[in-house]
Symmetry: D2
């Protein structure tokens, strides 16, 4: 940590700050320039409260020189985390594909869609039982009945399932769910993150619409600090001024995160773009950028979908998308789905 | 709702869409131009799923012509909502001031700070018992012990208290809390909003960092749809590329919201800017822009604050801020706090 | 400047960087922590190229500890710059009001509007002869004929005029213009800034839609480095995801800029919001936030305006806006316009 | 165009607006709902000024239903534009690679770098003679001397050259330049665009940091409206809140633009990310997303570069990047550079 002091700071206040820091077992190196005094702090500065220091009138700015996350930091854990669910692995070299409808609607819809995505090469199934909808008047998901139908699809396909947890109150319903998804809007629901840190299931943590990569890693740090190391990150678009796409897919987040952290990172091109015709090119681009996996919305009848139809692929389009991604994966030396 | 069809759309698909819409009790007016066909839909289009229509290949775009919110819409409820808590009103003409520390730390700290903000003219007290912190290693608030201390401050001052609910699991602890705050990160925690729609306490709903005004109103619609009409909105800065301030305070949201909705709107200059020296000018600007209230962080010793010290006013600075705001309030024909 | 080195950087490369920096007459203080090595650089680090240092593989990050601007920095020039045009001053205590139509359309329109804004208390006139329009099919301004008509309005009112320079090729036409405006889209037109640094007229420099406050100050530094110290800054809204307003007016930029720089700062609520009904509340808020002036669009017949009618006030509304702002100015101890 | 009228709009004002529109040779279809009246306008609505209509008090909103650009619109010109420079084509199927240093520094540097990028498979050379720099104290480019050296590199390699025009005053120096680049900061320098519309050289138009895809296309429309149809678009990152990368590369812009327009679109991963280690993965992702070309910064000694060293590849790294991109290109059925 580096502290820049204001010019002409009263000696008495400076001495007090020096003393307050040193009593926290931190060593200070003072560098005096013509216009600025810099303090370099050495020791375990994680304990230091940056804001409390910035609150002092004698302080101009405080700058971190180390990342604020530890357990998810690749510096301290150089090897890739690989999350294993049944026979499927996420991270460590291949492109895992999770596919299925935005929301679970009927038994026929979910089983039919899931069988088709399996046939096209998906490793896992996605489907929403509890749906976060902007409007209270929109379809909110089938809830526990949806989970029940999703378990039938799990049985019918033999594939693991991923679904979103919207409230800790529902967690008992998630016993047979294989991966618990934390949606973009809950990325900083810290009470939820703390609880999931204590659970023994893998967590799929989606980046919030207005959250930096560093904040995403800090939210993962919440889960890992609780003891759960099976964390999968997911880039799903950030909010910008551009209106042609629902959000702006930040594919550079993939190589950035792979440098900063050992956790696997997936990409959700469906939610990021909001348009089915952009899913294939963005999936291919994500594979080329080094993603560990893809989450793709597929619906056996998008025009009848109760939510997010505009961004859902038909099974036929998904099949084509998988083939194209597999070819890119081939270049990367990675298997895409089960292809 | 207006639907723009693609040129050369197959007649069969067009007929099918027409039929699917009409069976929802909507009348379609078709306007045929040289390059475009426009359908104007008349009827209760709230039932219509825009995305399902956009999922049709024959559709170029779908545009709403009406706001997607009803109960919070000023068009249908022209009179200002006034939320009453004890003797204090929020909305309807004055500037209600809520002040107190970011987090409750000790009995001495919370009672001393609250007595001082009362003396300076605050109408209500704020203080955090459960704190949303980006880092799991930061102080997380005193929890129920914090609430207990806050109730002592309520008793000592006789002022109503506002505090943040971070999880529905804690709601039983909030019986004696006067206003429940939904933080920016929970603005789209829809399960929480649904529950709060059923409770009989006023809700202070903060705008999310990446949420539009329309989305803020849709989240309020969730609460009101549940039956709870005592909703107070709060602008607290949105996320932009600017780094001099923690967030960018969007003061134009005040007159915009007052046109669109009948709900009262407050401003939180402390969280928006993250810097104590900006709180006074932004508070004054908010009053001049027509705000119904202010939420201001005050700490009796900001340099010792366990969180957000950099943005907290000393009681002395708060007193001066109140005096300045009262002068602006005077111009607006509004009382600021109890001054 | 602070340099953070990567762990396990080869000694040879570290030595080379040390040597390369020291030969630039900079002293390095090395602080060695357990995970990080920090170099604090002392001396005139303006000469140092941060990016060239970051290009070295042994470097993790480089952080500035001083502002990159010098001449516009309040640290080195504590007193307010006051720009004088005829009898009118900008900066140094009052709220200067510049008003007039978006574009100059006819002699009757410009003279009538200007006489009315003068009567309502404006200090200066604004009007566009060369107009930056997103579409090549929109009205582009009357050009030199527009300037000619504007000079008639100057004569008729006796007030100084401000108008935008869109190309250096036009500069000879600006001899009788009192203040040259650099529009938001030209804030980083560095060739233009260099030329204007050599001219002897005050420059009104508008903040770009996607530019930080620091970049705005760096662009002002370009002008001042050329010798022209008469610079007036202008906040006019930044681009965000919010769509209710054309841009998001960043009023916190006012106190931030007044701390960082000695230059006067104005606010343009018309372009920032794009809606006439928001101009009055945002003007009042700007005055309360400490602005040195306002630029407001007024048109004697907004519905017939050839551009930006939606954001233009009628002379009657402008009069009311001025009265309200004058009342706020009264609280601030500032005169607003000639009221 | 669709106009939504306010409820209870006075009949007299409504009649006046109706008349004003009809006299512009536009037909209005009125649709009356319970809460809203919608007017659908049919005819050449390009002539209609949306803002003037919005300025009427009786109007709630005005919405376009057609794109505001015509000549660059794929709807009216379905076939891909292919820009030809010597033997090289941009657009129409392959991935054209333009490479070279950020700025031209010495004869040895530019010729050596250019020979190496040619050897690695580049089709064209890039290099800056006039450099847009945020700080007036940074290296501003060698100017005409830089152009002179660049022409030597052109001769030495036999490859076409691309360089940025920063001011129309310099255009006479660009006679032997093959493609004129309009930088991101000049994307809405409309006077420059108008002039370039009259010149007979291809224009490389970079997207501004805060500009939408629609605005990029409108700027291209300025050039094409002047008669110059040889336009190449370039995505180079937009400004967001994320700080790990200099800008956020918006790769979804590629398929979006290819749908909306017939113009070729390139990607500049160097400026978008600002970090050399991200150039290879983002180049590969761009090829997979369907880009028509890449612009990549290469410097024979990045640590000595006078600008943007941190984002420049060494010739060796560029060679590896080209090989990887060529493999992705192979999947796409496209040749990358001369490989």
């Amino acid at each position: 940590m580096v502290i820049i002091l204001k010019k002409d700071a009263p000696k008495q206040d400076v001495d007090k700050l020096w003393h307050d820091i040193e009593t926290q077992n931190i060593k200070i190196h003072e560098i005096i320039g013509s216009h600025t005094t810099i303090w370099g702090l050495i020791g375990d500065t994680h304990k230091i409260d940056m804001e409390a220091i910035e609150a002092r009138e004698i302080v101009e700015t405080v700058q971190r020189v180390q990342e604020p996350y530890k357990e998810v930091n690749r510096k301290f854990h150089p090897e890739d985390t690989v999350v294993t669910v049944g026979d499927t692995k996420i991270g460590g070299g291949n492109v895992t594909v999770i596919a299925g409808p935005c929301s679970i609607e009927t038994e026929e819809q979910i089983i039919d869609t899931c069988l088709q995505v399996k046939a096209a090469g998906a490793n896992m199934l996605r489907g929403g039982a509890f749906k976060p909808r902007t409007s209270p008047y929109s379809f909110q998901g089938l809830g526990d009945e949806g989970l029940r139908l999703f378990l039938k699809a799990k049985k019918a396909t033999g594939l693991p399932i991923v679904t979103e947890l919207m409230s800790l109150d529902h967690i008992d319903l998630f016993n047979d769910v294989d991966i618990i998804q934390v949606g973009a809007r809950n990325m900083q629901n810290f009470e939820m993150l703390k609880e999931l840190g204590k659970c023994n299931k893998p967590i799929l943590l989606k980046r919030g619409l207005a959250n930096t990569i560093e904040e995403l890693l800090m939210s993962a740090e919440y889960i890992i600090a609780g003891g759960n190391t099976d964390i999968i990150l997911c880039e799903r678009g950030i909010r910008t001024f551009e209106t042609q796409t629902r959000n702006t897919l930040d594919l550079s987040a993939i190589p950035v995160i792979k440098t900063l952290s050992h956790l696997p990172i997936l990409v959700d091109p469906s939610h990021a773009t909001g348009k089915y015709e952009l899913v294939e090119p963005m999936s291919m681009a994500a594979v080329a950028a080094g993603t560990d996996g893809l989450i793709i919305e597929v619906h056996n009848n998008p025009q009848k979908a109760l939510c997010d139809g505009a961004q859902s692929l038909t099974p036929k389009r998904f099949e084509k998308c998988m083939e194209k991604c597999a070819q890119i994966g081939n270049v990367m030396g990675k298997r895409v789905g089960t292809l």
